[in-house]
Symmetry: C2
Subunit: 426 residues, 2 copies
């Protein structure tokens, strides 16, 4: 079949009629499915259940430095947990601060601290400045954008290319505007597109010369070990920054939320010595230290990076069929019709789909009316406004495979319907 837009008008009308009838049938089936958030499925979580058996009342609850993990102490985590994350991220343990159960919360706190106290190198707290701006490569992660929106930053959309953010634009903007204080990045299996930044992009990040002396790259390495196929290789930004003399410019974040349990995982932040020192000077007032027993559980369960890799292979076994179902259906149902473009990711949690301009909201609405909740159209752009109304984030991990199939059938149908409506309206 050829591209829908190139078909004769009568043929499109005929197809639309068929699709409407199929849609009515599906709507009548009374579906109730949620593909809105990147949540692991129950069977994925089951893979991690061994963590529950790692600490029982007969165990000694001591960290390797002798600290009783049941008591106060260790502001930045137990040594063996720091070492595990050090191995995962390729960053020395002394540059790591273990946090609570959420890297997003650590990012929020990092922005909040910058607002009230500045970061290392700030002349004043960011809240004392007249105007502050943040770069948002888009499509991107809505919860990142929401944090900087909450604190009153002007959000600037940066185009995403196939190898990462548009670095020409990033370089041009940060070198000329000292109000730009940072940029949100998900450098490996980006949320939502599943793109991994190329070596050239990472190197250009490390060599940025921002006008703001306290500019920070928020490097959310959320999917560092979340490979499905042959792993994308991400250059270590810390090594690159060190070589470029810009190591104070980057805050890196990660967590086990999508390795072990969302909400009961272990989060981590990495930064230069100067940054760590400044952060700890505030953290020592803010925190009594993170949950050491949960760190101990995680280290006992995963043991080392080999353990994490083995574990993530088991997760991939559950996820691959879901990702393939989505990409195969998009390919089969929509690509030839010219109604979607998407990147098939090698890992991560999402598939980002571009439908014809002006159709994303309509697709999400049609799906919702038939009982399938998708991430809101526009959510992947600053202020929830996709200028093309084209991008939809598909989160295939949560529903069981059979439900996912039904949901994708509906999704493809809704894209066809919205596409036909669009073409016919011109």
């Amino acid at each position: 079949m050829l591209k829908l837009a190139q078909q004769p008008r009568e043929h499109i009308l005929e197809l639309k009629k068929q699709w409407e009838s199929q849609y009515s049938e599906m709507k009548a089936a009374g579906l109730k499915l949620d593909m809105s958030r990147g949540k692991p499925s129950s069977s994925q979580l089951d893979i991690s259940n061994g963590i529950f058996d790692c600490l029982s009342s007969s165990d000694v609850m001591k960290a390797e430095d002798g600290t009783d993990c049941r008591n106060y102490g260790l502001l930045d985590g137990i040594p063996e947990a720091k070492r595990l994350f050090s191995d995962m991220l390729g960053i020395p343990a002394q540059n790591i601060i273990i946090g609570g159960n959420s890297s997003l919360n650590m990012m929020f706190d990092a922005i909040s601290r910058a607002m009230t106290h500045g970061v290392y190198g700030s002349k004043q707290p960011w809240m004392k400045l007249d105007k502050i701006k943040f770069l948002c490569p888009s499509p991107g992660y809505d919860r990142h954008f929401a944090i900087t929106e909450l604190f009153g930053f002007e959000l600037i959309t940066i185009k995403m290319n196939s190898d990462g953010p548009d670095m020409d634009e990033v370089e041009r903007l940060v070198s000329n505007d000292s109000a730009i204080k940072g940029i949100w990045c998900v450098p490996k299996y980006s949320n939502p597109e599943g793109i991994t930044y190329s070596d050239a992009v990472v190197k250009r990040f490390a060599h940025l010369k921002p006008a703001a002396e306290d500019f920070r790259i928020f490097w959310d390495n959320a999917y560092a070990v979340h490979d499905l196929y042959i792993a994308d290789q991400l250059l270590n930004i810390f090594d690159e920054c060190k070589a470029a003399g810009t190591e104070d410019m980057v805050f890196e974040f990660a967590s086990t939320s999508k390795i072990s349990f969302p909400g009961s995982g272990v989060a981590v932040m990495a930064a230069s010595e100067n940054n760590i020192k400044q952060i700890k000077s505030i953290l020592t007032i803010q925190s009594i230290g993170p949950d050491k027993l949960n760190q101990l559980r995680h280290v006992k369960y995963f043991k080392n990076m080999d353990g994490i890799r083995q574990h993530m292979k088991k997760q991939a076994e559950v996820l691959i069929p879901k990702f393939e179902l989505v990409t195969n259906m998009l390919e089969r149902e929509l690509t030839e019709l010219g109604l979607v473009s998407f990147h098939k990711p090698n890992g991560g949690y999402f598939i980002s789909v571009n439908v014809p301009n002006g159709c994303a909201k309509r697709v999400v609405q049609l799906c919702k009316e038939a009982g399938v909740v998708l991430t809101a159209a526009g959510a992947t752009y600053p202020y929830g406004k996709d200028p093309d109304d084209s991008n939809i984030r598909i989160a295939p991990t949560f529903p069981p495979l059979s439900e996912l199939k039904t949901a994708m059938e509906l999704f493809c149908l809704c894209v066809k319907l919205a596409g036909a409506e669009k073409i016919l309206s011109v």
Copy 2:
């Protein structure tokens, strides 16, 4: 024996010589003891070890509303944990937000949010104001004062009476100065004096008429169930505020840090409906929600308030001999000499000792030189400055009884020495 200050000079010199000789002996023994922080002892923690067996891989990890506690969801906690804290604090579950592992962190976050976004009823974020002040009943909790100091508040010392803060002064100050944004309170078994606020004091708090429309009472009910003897009764400030129409004026905090495990407990905040709504509007950006599995563990272990009460009785059995050792030794060694005054608390974690004016730093120094670390003198006052240099906080919970005895022998000796030095220097 009569008061030291009333003895003939020669007699004091003679006693001092004896005490110096005893001090040299103790110093030579090479002690290494820490009584600086309110940490539970290892044997106290053992009482809670059953918590580790409450979740194993074969358990169903669902909250009573069906939420899979291993996954994302529930920003403010699982219903059964909210109910447990509701029972503990006498506050409806809908007024409760469960947090992470630390109520101190929740207090920090509450202040931080107020700085960047204000509280319910604020005309602007507190950080936009020229001058902000906070009331600090003293002696009080150093980590409270440190939070407001970090954010640039002017800290105002309020005298503590035997039934709570000097309410005449509190009323006078808050009604006349709109820069005063709040007050720190530990209303039951106050840190460090172990005083419980009288009904009259609580009622006067509820009837405050602050000049600042966004004044907040930070009601840190850290020792709500930490009774040693017949429990002190604290009036429920929420009920009093509701009756007075001032329910938006109070933020209450508590945690299980000193019920189960410090660092791996469950913290909680309670507030009015208006406050909860404003807080959640920010929290939904900040947080993915607290660790639900740890909440589930706690609820499964304690079950209900009866379970907590039984558990705290076991803790009291470990703590009572330590508190009695301290108070008996102070009484026997120092009271008749006129060298101390202190309140014997019915619960909590501390004994607050007043030594003769100008002697506290010297006592702490003498103890340190002989190997016993106490809380820094002055720590219980804003900016770490005790105007009388008189108050010392004794934290008797951590050392085993035998070590505590040795440490207290040294402490009493150091008070005698410092007292004698002071008297002789006049």
